[in-house]
Subunit: 191 residues, 2 copies
Amino acid sequence: MAKLRKRQRQEALSELLERNPFLTDQELAARFGVSIQTIRLDRMELGLPELRERLKQVAEQAYGRVKSVSSTDIIGDLIEINLDESALSVLDTDSSMTFAASEIVRGHHIFAQANSLAAALVDAPVALTGSAQIKYLAPVYAGQRIVAKAKVTKIEGRKRLIKVRSYVGDKDVFVGDFTLFALANSSEDKR
Amino acid sequence: MAKLRKRQRQEALSELLERNPFLTDQELAARFGVSIQTIRLDRMELGLPELRERLKQVAEQAYGRVKSVSSTDIIGDLIEINLDESALSVLDTDSSMTFAASEIVRGHHIFAQANSLAAALVDAPVALTGSAQIKYLAPVYAGQRIVAKAKVTKIEGRKRLIKVRSYVGDKDVFVGDFTLFALANSSEDKR
DNA sequence: TAGATATTAGTAGTAGATACTAAAACATCT
DNA sequence: AGATGTTTTAGTATCTACTACTAATATCTA
């Protein structure tokens, strides 16, 4: 039985740290009712880095993301963009995005990717979504990679119509027609 | 001249750390051509936290952001619910939800609140969003509290039509018509 | 040149670890 | 029950990037 307990604990540990990287070995030991050494052995065997390393990674990721898209915070990774024309982003899904009871990714994540891609596409400091008609064509499961393609279909003054299609592999999972409004930067001149 | 040099160095230090929180005192000392102690004195005088604390803060912020559109089943706080009838939730917005360049809350947060409220309303273990028509009626600013009200307007077999209206105070900011499908729990019995 | 300000040096102590050795507890097989 | 292997715990030395503190030296200014 010992083997089982160990395996289960290690699995739980992996998951827990994925969801909450802010726990020290001490806290983990208390949580699992084992000694610190056991936790350290487990982390070693699983190749999980220490608290400080985990924090650094989270911070770096966040920082990289904020930096690289400082003006156009995007959900997913922006792969390609031609302002006021077309854009493409990729979102790797995981179980933190699913319903508690299933492995199906919740709709608003798919929407967020599409919506932020559409907003990034607008050549203006700020773009507000005015309205949208969206359709979910097939469920997306945790672990699948969503590729979203956005195309500007119409420009009328400050208004933009943008069509977004999202795929998993070559299966369509989502389509949306977005109406966005380009805003001048609200008060300050760029700085 | 000493005072000037010190003041300038401290200003530069503040800015540098703001832009790049990943530098150790040693690296900072090398960069400014002074000793570690000087850097530590400077940080003390300016009330700037140490590297590890800075990393932790960046990581926490980042994590908070990820969380806001993930882990929980419902975005916002569920205040009231009558399954298959109506529900109400409240979302307190903050600047982590805004565009970098303005204080306007990004559309997908408002959508996420509405979508998850609609899904919660369906009396089934899992509810998938099939499609939606949404409209943003007015911008929401960081700090404002969004109240979302959802109502089931039609039930047809596993299909539910749900109307969601969101308010800030008594101003309408969002309306959406959602089509959801109730799913039996896909394979496992609830656990 | 005295006095103030700024800078540097150095020590003790901290958290949260790594890396390592060794003992104890437990499980398993015969 | 005894030998063997796995798992868990204990404990020590060492590390980084510090804080908190004392004290000496360098530099500037009046």
